[in-house]
């Protein structure tokens, strides 16, 4: 359960958002600089706002510029209490390598694995799939959708094809407003911005 009734100002734009969300995966979309990342930070209390936010703990958060710590993959995981990886995980073969040497996609997987190990009831993910190849992107989308069955998952993304595949309700940031729309409506609105 996530409920947020907030007003905040960023780059001279005022936003007012009022949401009540139950378990599930929700996308947050909109053009660059529209306020998406800021909204996440508001939810986390990292950005000033007026109003009230309630989220079920534990929280999980993957920021836009996630980067592993300068240690081995194994140590990065241990920090989060992960001692064993499923053998299907692409990280398994790279356990002892320095995490800094992973590819962009592998780093994203690492971050996701770490955060999900905490079994958060609210999971906030900021543009994790931006630099991933198709297979990885799809795998992550599915993982998050699946996880949405037990938690509130918010995924900020730029990628319209994600919306097409997942077809989940989307919080659309457009022209200083934020609206929670069903998938199709959100997509139509996005198309309109092309004209």
């Amino acid at each position: 359960m996530l409920s947020a009734d907030v007003r905040f100002t960023v780059a001279k734009k005022h936003f007012a958002v009022d949401l009540q969300l139950t378990e599930g995966l929700y996308l947050i979309m909109g053009p660059n600089g529209a306020g998406k990342t800021t909204f996440l930070r508001v939810l986390l209390g990292l950005f000033p706002y007026e109003g009230a936010v309630h989220m079920d703990k534990p929280l999980g958060y993957i920021p836009q510029h996630y980067q592993p710590l300068n240690a081995s993959v194994e140590d990065n995981l241990k920090l989060f209490g992960v001692t064993q990886l499923p053998s299907s995980s692409p990280l398994e073969s790279k356990r002892r390598l320095s995490a800094m040497k992973l590819s962009g996609g592998e780093k994203a997987m690492l971050g996701l694995t770490q955060v999900m190990a905490l079994q958060p009831k609210t999971l906030l993910v900021d543009e994790i799939t931006a630099h991933l190849d198709q297979p990885s992107t799809i795998m992550i989308e599915n993982t998050l959708k699946d996880y949405g069955r037990r938690a509130v998952v918010l995924l900020v993304t730029h990628q319209w094809d994600t919306l097409l595949r997942l077809k989940v309700p989307t919080l659309l940031f457009l022209n200083n407003t934020a609206q929670l729309l069903p998938a199709d409506d959100a997509y139509d609105r996005l198309l309109e911005t092309l004209r």
């Binding site: 986390l44 929280l59 958060y61 836009q64 996630y66 920090l79 800094m100 955060v115 905490l118």
Partner: protein, 207 residues
């Protein structure tokens, strides 16, 4: 060429420098892990680490002189004061390099740790710093190794007791004992380069 002298001086230099560096690394790691906003501390420690070494030596002398506040320890002109001086030279550098490492972590990641693992913040930082400790160690090693001014003022450069390779090179050169001086110069060069060469080789092997 007096091999025994060179050998003893080498051992003494390596041990004292290593002690000072190790202590500096510990302080640097702990400091950089605990501090809440590394960005504001970074420029301060950077400035401090460019204090001329000989000034540090003077401060150590005044501290440990019999008329000074720590004179009762009787550490002046003993290896103890020398290591203190070396440590004071290495510490600001270690702190600023550790802080730099932490600052290299995007602000996002600070928030990542804060939100996901608030109770393990310090442990996470220490883990992150651990990877660069070896490099930082070598940098502080280099800063201390060739230093003459502070070493002389704090330890007295007493032959056979507090003389390092650097102070001995100066002394033997002044005495006209060029063979000894050059030999020690070569040794000094080796011990300043060998650690980084070893690191280069081992890290290549890892790839």
């Amino acid at each position: 060429m007096d091999l025994a002298l060179i050998g003893r001086t080498l051992v003494f230099t390596v041990v004292t420098t290593a002690m000072a560096c190790a202590l500096a690394l510990v302080v640097g790691t702990l400091y950089a892990s605990f501090v809440r906003s590394p960005w504001s501390h970074l420029s301060f420690w950077r400035a401090i680490s460019s204090i001329p070494p000989v000034l540090v030596g003077l401060v150590v002398y005044l501290l440990f002189s019999r008329k000074g506040p720590l004179g009762f320890l009787r550490w002046l002109f003993t290896p103890k004061a020398l290591v203190v001086a070396q440590f004071l030279l290495a510490m600001p550098m270690a702190i600023s390099l550790c802080l730099q490492q932490r600052v290299n972590l995007p602000r996002d990641m600070e928030e990542f740790i804060l939100v996901n693992l608030p109770s393990k913040r310090i442990k996470a930082m220490m883990l992150h710093l651990r990877g660069s400790l070896v490099n930082i160690g070598f940098l502080t090693w280099g800063r201390i190794l060739g230093e003459v001014g502070a070493a002389t003022l704090s330890g007295g450069a007493i032959v056979g007791y507090t003389a390092t390779l650097a102070t001995e090179i100066m002394y033997r050169t002044n005495l006209g004992q060029f063979a000894n001086a050059i030999a020690m110069g070569v040794v000094l060069l080796l011990i300043s380069l060998v650690p980084s060469m070893v690191l280069e080789v081992t890290s290549r092997a890892q790839r």
